[in-house]
Amino acid sequence: MIAELGHFALILALLTAVVQGSLPMVGAARGYMPWMSLAAPAALMQLVLVALSFAALTYVYVVSDFTVVNVAENSHSAKPMLYKVTGVWGNHEGSMVLWILILALFGSMVAFFGGNLPPSLKARVLGVQAWIGIGFLLFTLLTSNPFLRVFPAPADGRDLNPLLQDPGLAFHPPLLYAGYVGFSMAFSFAIAALIEGKLDAAWARWVRPWTLLAWAFLTAGIALGSWWAYYELGWGGWWFWDPVENVSFMPWLLGTALLHSAIVVEKRDALKIWTVLLAILTFSLSLMGTFIVRSGLLTSVHAFATDPERGFFILVLLLITVGGSLLLFALRAPVLKPGGLFAPISREGGMVLNNLFLAAACATVFLGTLYPLFLEAIDGSKVSVGPPFYNVTFVPLMVPLLFVMALGPLMPWKRADLAGVFARLKLAALGALAGAAITLYLREGWPVLPAAAMGLVAWLFVASLVEWCERIKLFRAPLGDSWRRARNLPRAAHGMTLAHAGMAIAAAGMIGASVWNLEEVRNLRPGESMQVAGYDYRFDGVEQIQGPNYLADRAQITVTRDGRPVAVLTPEKRLYPVQNMPTTEAAIHTTWVVDLYAVIGDSDGRGGWAVRIFHEPLVPWIWIGCIVMVLGSFVSLSDRRLRIGAPSRKAKAVPAGGHPAPAE
């Protein structure tokens, strides 16, 4: 009964989407107000219906109703409640409903907060959102219905893949989808602007907060996924350039570019066509990610149960959405009049450089991800593209990007004086030298490249802070004066400083993790110890424990340094009997500078156990950097100008924005 209600609600949501996608569009074309104003209530109605459907699906999971195929295949009565709920989106069908729910949520937010949008733009944006919704609702209802029943019902379920029974992964999909789907807003605005033939600074001001919100969610989602892989897979790595990781990373790269190019549209009325293209491509890449993950197109360590029929359906969806929007772009983009010209050495010039690097980086990831498919289609040979490829293509693109990232915020709009910018970066240059020198001092063997890399991130970090300090005149004016200035500074400016500094922190973590990580495997008997990077790991023994739905061998490893206790690590090797699947649970102790990471392997049957120790310097900084970046976006989102959606008089007086010009 409940499952059928959920099913019907989903069908009704489809019908609502059809109304939302047609009448307001016609109304906007004819200038007929009543039809246009249908869009907002329809969007809210969609949210109610999809939420109802999602609630129904959650309910059948919570009560373990095994007459529903989806529950029987992905849940188990003994599973902890948290994973019963998160199991709703731990499978293909349920995750599609979540996808649609988030889409409806974003649509209703436009309906709710978009009071100051011109009615025709609002109607069109919601209309385009409804088109996307129709596509995915059809896909779910026709090929992936989560409410199908089975008779007779099995006595118990097949359980969720134990690797997914983890808090990190439980919340990874919702965040990731919020990012993917969030970019649909920029997409809808871009399509609406192409249809209207009008794109101005106001348009950019509406698009920015949505893009920023999506970007924040995607950053958090990717970081959470990476963190999960780091501690759950027990391989000690945090990024594997796996196709499934790459497809979430590509929208992030282009979304970052979009975030910056939209500022140029807002401030300088330039880069319009490029920004529209970025908006379309960013969401297209999100859709492509959905397609690749669910069609079994590429070989990946993590993929959904795949089905060619579904893959074909999404491909058709992709052809209509991406092909259609790019066709519209080709036909209508010339209508968007390019705005003011600009000098290469200027804030906007810096943004163009940023966009070039990010787009090129995205292109390399795209090629690396799809190259195996291209090659196989041409001569049938199979290859996999791994870290060596990205090290020689992607990393060299990031180095200049990080370098100029320090300069950009210091350059004024229209025309900048490069010598002056560098003059203000003396402190950053000093920071870079210090970063490199500290690296050389701490590490033996004259590590020139890592030292240069650490110098680069120190340069970026200090430069980000310098810009902020200059704007509030820290140490130049009395402290009270600086405080007043900091409070008057637009929140977006604080947000930018945080985001850029967060990037520097994360980059330092990535460099440290890839250059200095150590790995040692030993077969240890209870009481024996091993030394890794100055830490002493004593293996105390293994005990068997019984979890709620698993059995585990739990080892105890006491870590000391120079005789002083540091931590007790308890890595586990679990067996989930329902799926007969073993998992490793790494034990990690972080000192915030280095992670001590232990994994327990197999017993040799004579009292010894394989103990694997990873020494992971700076890895915690990756997560800290990501958190700071996400924090920065939310600080920026709280900016009055973005919240209200239109510039206030005051915000105009102080040249505000994500990257405001230096005050004096």
Binding site: F291, S295, L297, T299, F329, A330, A333
Partner: protein, 180 residues
């Protein structure tokens, strides 16, 4: 005009990529399948002694490629899929008359002898391999089967048991083609 063409470029590129996607979805493509690096390579160099307790000779590189098509099969008594493919292999060798050479991989001789006594012995020669042979042949597990042409070149390599449909679809056509 040039600007128009430039604006069409994203669409054209997308169509190219979409074409590859469409190809990638074709139902007879298995993205998980791993092609063998051994196909079209000459016979690896190896020399395997007989299995103690069997009356059969072992064999070496020099015994292959003497103008005769041969099948080489890696097996072990402890391997369950080997047991599953055994009747199929026996039948295949008897029906086609193609000599079947066995490589007994990391096995106890007594266990191998008992296994062959229980299930029957379709092999014309059997070499005992302590692991070195598997490395030379690029074998990652048992069972694996190779077909070599008259010049001793590897023409077919299958990882896993030779069973049912696979024999009809791949093994027999390959044997027929090579023996013409």
């Amino acid at each position: 005009m040039i600007q128009r063409l430039l604006l069409l470029l994203p669409l054209l590129l997308f169509f190219v990529v979409a074409g590859y996607f469409l190809w990638g979805l074709s139902p007879d493509r298995d993205p998980q399948a791993l092609p063998s690096a051994m196909v079209d390579k000459p016979t690896p160099s190896f020399d395997l002694p007989p299995v103690p307790g069997l009356e059969q000779p072992g064999f070496a590189s020099a015994d292959l490629g003497k103008g005769e098509v041969v099948m080489v099969n890696f097996f072990a008594s402890w391997c369950v899929p080997c047991r599953a493919e055994h009747p199929y292999l026996t039948d295949l060798a008897a029906r086609t008359g193609v000599p079947l050479y066995g490589i007994n991989h990391r096995d106890k001789p007594e266990a191998a002898v008992a296994w062959l006594e229980e299930l029957g012995n379709p092999y014309s020669r059997i070499g005992a391999d302590s692991g070195r042979g598997a490395v030379e042949w690029g074998v990652s597990g048992v069972p694996e089967t190779f077909i070599l042409d008259g010049e001793g070149r590897i023409r077919y390599h299958h990882r896993g048991p030779i069973l049912g449909q696979l024999i009809e679809d791949e093994v027999e056509p390959m044997l027929r083609a090579l023996r013409q």
